[in-house]
Point group: D2
Chain length 307, copies 4
């Protein structure tokens, strides 16, 4: 089993055409921009990729396209997000057949489960595949927090090979890093937060899966390399710049959740000429009012990603 | 469009064989028991039916089987539970093709959405089907509460024809009933709670979708008929008995969520000889310890559903 | 120890003069209106009484005034709401000295406590007083739900003599009533909800502590008496009327919490000529916009409490 | 108005004698240890100081004692924690009379308030005192998150002079620091978290209010000085050591909230000979089982604060 890579692994957006289909041209531009910036891997079908909004057919189409466009230049990890074990395994089967390098799975959701059942879930996924499995800790969607102790236990057992932490709980994250290190580092521990990545690196993160990395992958690569070089001052300055860029997610008027967050990333990429549209999957409306779009454009210019 | 029926519409459990497959024989016995008891309709693939745990193929298999077994004796409504609009529509297509009489859909989940997007979601479902649509308000799973004002508005527009309220918010439920009545009753308003149905009837409910109705459909039918006859004392006495029966869900030791609730219903039906096993879908373990099983059996005997 | 009374025990509002002091004249009118309507007791310094907003001196002043104005015609129960045990005991000392007939205490709040500590808290209160103690279950303020099993256990021990349930959890409430009955009814179980009291009576409530009873005590008395007489149809019709009246709490524009709820009660009483002002304690602003006030007045007229 | 100091301002524990009174000798030792370690200020009557558990008399006694023992060597800030505005102002009056250098106040709690009312609350506190006011953002106790925009607005108005952030929301914290800087830094922004302080410094924190600083003030002083000197590697290494020490809060068996957190700090100080007892205020039981105490002692030895 190939280890999960360290470094920058942006969760790819899923650009749409004006007809609502997967936009191959925009996706091609996005991927080239990512690889040129020096990312270490790509994560498709995460929350940023609107995985919960896509049909099974669209999910397969996205994986297939991305694998073809990436063409082995970096590893591709695929979200296999669904409510419960058997449904997740069905996604794993498809992702596996298409040739991804690892899968990313959450705890069960919709129906409530406890810690024993979450452990049983991940063990059942392990029994179903030889691919590395990254646990995706995102309580804002799953409404369960994965305990650091459980994650490291599953790492030590060989059930999990990585964690993507989007929990927003930085104390728990540092504990996860410390417990993992004490257990011989069975897990690659990745942070999913965009604006506090420098702190996550100090806490021991092995890398970052930043949604905002769709807009400015080079910034995240620079920050990671500065950290790797022990140049903490540059790391911090880059994070401050990226935190300023992250303010785009607070600009959309009257929007919440991915309609604001992913919506602002898509709008930025449209403004930057990478995407043809900023359309979102139903039932989400795109950001189409001038004040929101202007506020996003202003920030893009201020941090230097738009001329 | 046929109206949603009033009265008792239990959410059918999905019995499993010891191999983990849909158990046709147990399902046959369950359905005969339901229809003999006088239920007004059946709801398949709800939370009690472990919908979130079943693959698409299993969901289709369940609908097909139930429709065949019911054979038109009562209407069959099917849950089309999934994360977002396009995935729900895919389920609607399949349920429609199989011949159900209505579909039951939640608000989007996993990814956060606001009220405008929830309205857009239900309107998109309406555009996709001519079947009646029942909105399923279950915040413990969906993590959104559907506002009474929005539900009645969508009812008045013809988008929704019913509501299954499993919100646990009885104040909101009474408001929903009152607002619906004031709007000319476009919605059939059904409560999903087992132990406080008499109060829901006083509040104006048009019927009940009780998970516990799998175990004792006759009790729920008696309570509904007493209410219809204005015999509130009998209604209340029957509810007190069923509330006592509902205590089975608090008996399983060390279990939460459906592993406790649905698990206790399945265990009851196994003890009653209706089901062959009390197995749950992965990753849920069945209730297999003697103290939990004995406590459930004691209650069943006390309320007279087990000899 | 005198038992807690059954029936209607409204939680008295605390009217304020335009200078922000306790308004004795308005309070006098309110109390006379309550007693004339036939209430069974009065509860001062509850959430409706703005207890959390009043200084210790004001709390004492309110208790003293109400005891004097009531003059023994009905029992007076006083809220002793504060963060932790020693502070609550200090309030109990003062309430006791002033001569109340029972005290009403929540679980600890602000600092998190678990079930053992909540039990220790109530036992410490019992050790500190010979007055009856009513546990006040109001998770929206205290952020803890009191478990029915714990409450009945404390009732059986003689620690608690009553429960005021404002939890909004009607399933738990019915369980509380059933467990209490099975234990020999050590507790008087009172509901704090205004719009679903008929259901609470069916569930076994011994009475009601309705904030809305400040506005229409006679309606709550009629509903209680209809229930006592087994006239469930009248009970329900009265509840429907009072639920319509309860809509006043949803009218204030741009207000949340007690600024909307208690604020609408105070505005109603001002419109009805019982209160001189509708002022709230700082930092709450009163309802002073015409649309909100007109909407409240319309509802008052519709249900017949304003000419 | 003197500005709030930068740097390390531990929230002092409140040691108790075996009779449950304030333990003057232990408090004296604690304060000398703090000042010898080089702390920049002291914060009395915070959550770590069990403020919510103390009567008004005890609160006064603590402030008086600490002011006398500190004797002007560092500024002393006092928590004025209570449910609503008038009660908080009453605490401010007393703290002011005793001579503290600043007060620390939360948003209102128990009764729900919205943003307008929270702003009105802090403005009313400002109108009542000339002391600097530090807003205390601790949603786990107050159940409201203070928005960065509101805090900086109140800073710019001169209402607030500082913020103690115990929100656990590191993204919001970085936004607060950035917005404050953009507004000319009207606020001193202090983090209340023990195990992720290095990240908070990178985000722009002006200092730290660490409960764990009661146990190891020298470590927090070293970390702050390393940060001030731009020596980020030393800062991080010290944080890793302190994060290891912070594990003491996870050792108490069967305890939650302050019974675990503050309880483990008190137990550590008892083991270190600074405190005479590890008693907590009622209803909290002390940590008295051997496994919990041994686990705490082991950690203290491992990080070098116990021989």
């Amino acid at each position: 089993m190939n280890p999960i890579v360290s470094g920058i692994i942006p969760p790819l957006l899923t650009p749409l055409t004006s007809a609502g289909d997967i936009d191959v041209d925009s996706l091609t531009r996005l991927i080239e921009q990512q690889i040129n910036a020096g990312v270490d891997g790509l994560f498709v079908l995460g929350s940023s990729g609107e995985v919960a909004f896509l049909t099974d057919e669209e999910r397969e189409q996205v994986i297939e396209l991305v694998l073809k466009l990436v063409d082995g230049r970096v590893p591709v990890y695929a979200g296999v997000i669904d409510t419960q074990t058997k449904r997740v395994i069905a996604h794993i089967r498809r992702a596996e057949a298409l040739g991804v390098q690892a899968v990313v799975a959450t705890a069960p959701f919709y129906a409530i489960t406890g810690p024993d059942e979450i452990a049983a879930h991940f063990r059942a996924l392990r029994a179903a595949t030889d691919l590395p499995i990254i646990a995706y800790d995102i309580p804002v969607c799953v409404h369960t927090k994965l305990a650091p102790e459980l994650l490291v236990q599953l790492g030590a057992e060989g059930v999990l090979q990585g964690v993507k932490d989007s929990s927003g709980d930085d104390v728990s994250f540092r504990r996860l890093c410390a417990l993992n290190k004490a257990a011989g580092s069975p897990l690659k521990v990745l942070t999913g937060h965009e604006a506090v990545v420098d702190g996550a690196y100090l806490a021991g993160a092995d890398g970052c899966v930043p949604g905002l990395g769709n807009v400015d992958p080079a910034g995240y690569v620079r920050m990671w390399r500065a950290y790797q070089a022990g140049d903490f001052a540059t790391m911090r300055a880059e994070q401050d710049r990226l935190a300023q860029l992250f303010e785009i997610v607070f600009q959309p008027i009257g929007k919440v959740g991915p309609a604001a967050g992913v919506g602002s990333f898509k709008t930025a990429l449209e403004l930057m000429g990478v995407f043809t549209t900023n359309l979102m999957s139903p039932p989400l409306a795109p950001i189409d009012d001038a004040p929101s779009r202007d506020a996003i454009a202003d920030i893009l210019r201020k941090v230097g990603v738009l001329a």
